[in-house]
């Protein structure tokens, strides 16, 4: 299902573009540091592996498309294949591609589109319906930041320096 045709960049999209730019920069710094020989590492048997968590963060930027170009995400109609990178370069190329696509989609999204409803469901079962602007804010952006926060602990546990994010880390940046 697709929504109304593309228009010029709205004010909401412009704000998200600025934010995406910042978040992408920080996220890339984090992903760059995930070594391929640690992709299988996990801190606990119930945790995601380092590689899965990193590629999940990269793919989530791509959810901009599902959020802004559709009105519904139905798990029962999806054929989801998790991306499994074999090198850090592959992970970064996948990430860069998703960022470029997300920016292009935002650039053609009107304020009106952001105010239309979006539903997540699994067939008959509806999880939530919210305006697209709230889905972008919470389900996409904050959700990415949440997993990136988790990834920062994985870095620390592997003695990989944690970059400064919102302020200095114990390894980098100063105040």
């Amino acid at each position: 299902m697709t929504t109304s045709t593309a228009t010029s960049t709205g004010r909401i999209a412009a704000a998200f573009l600025g934010e995406l730019e910042n978040e992408a920069k920080v996220t890339r710094t984090v992903l760059e540091r995930v070594p391929a020989d640690k992709f299988d590492y996990k801190p606990h048997e119930k945790s995601m592996t380092f590689g899965r968590l990193a590629s999940h963060i990269a793919e989530m930027f791509g959810w901009t498309k599902e959020t802004l170009k559709s009105d519904v995400l139905d798990f029962s109609a999806m054929d989801y294949k998790p991306f499994e990178p074999t090198s850090t370069e592959e992970l970064l190329a996948f990430f860069d591609d998703h960022i470029a696509k997300a920016k292009a989609i935002l650039a053609e999204t009107s304020d009106e589109t952001f105010m239309t409803d979006w539903t997540m469901r699994n067939g008959e079962q509806v999880y939530f319906t919210m305006p697209k602007v709230a889905v972008m804010r919470s389900f996409v952006m904050n959700h990415i930041i949440h997993h990136r926060g988790q990834l920062s602990v994985y870095l620390r546990l592997n003695d990989i320096p944690v970059p400064a994010m919102y302020g200095p880390s114990a390894d980098e940046g100063a105040m």
Binding site: P43, K46, S47, H143, H146, Q150, V153, R156, Y166
Partner: protein
């Protein structure tokens, strides 16, 4: 709805998973840290609880100056953590809900005396604080997992709870 009321609604939503995590943290784990360079459980959990209140000084004050001192949470029990969260969330929600839209265009500074770390608008600082909060709450979810405390649903199911 004003801009502040929209932020307040989002903050209330984002506080549910924060609360669900904090109420599961037993005081005997407070001194634990996953790595010698990491924050302790108490410090990270206290920070998450405290951040819900940051909206008060972002919205109502022109700046935060570390040189003037800042009252850090020092919980002794799980109850203390939740009390801090409730107090901070209440002041954060109040400031956000009462602020007129123009307020979010005002300048805001983070400084230590003469040294200014950041100058931005109140609106931008609010948005950034939501991200910052999700960041530390995400870290806290790994701490829970490492201490075998069930991780609640946050944006979707965890390996312990919720289903889709």
């Amino acid at each position: 709805m004003t801009i502040g009321q929209t932020f307040a609604r989002d903050l209330e939503n984002e506080s549910k998973s924060g609360r669900a995590m904090l109420e599961r943290i037993p005081a005997e784990t407070f001194d634990w840290q996953p790595h010698e360079r990491s924050m302790s459980m108490k410090r990270l959990a206290g920070l998450v609880a405290d951040m819900y209140g940051w909206f008060q000084f972002i919205v109502d004050e022109p700046e935060l100056d570390f040189a003037k001192g800042y009252e850090q949470p020092d919980p002794k029990t799980t109850e203390d953590l939740l009390t801090w969260l409730d107090k901070k969330l209440a002041v954060g929600l109040k400031s956000l809900s009462e602020a007129p839209d123009e307020r979010f265009e005002d300048e805001w500074k983070l400084r230590r005396g003469d040294e200014v770390f950041m100058t931005t608008t109140k609106g931008e600082m609010c948005r950034q604080t939501f991200g910052h909060l999700a960041h530390h709450r995400g870290q806290l979810s790994v701490y829970l997992r490492l201490k075998d405390i069930p991780v609640p649903q946050i944006y979707g199911p965890s390996a312990d709870e919720g289903s889709m």
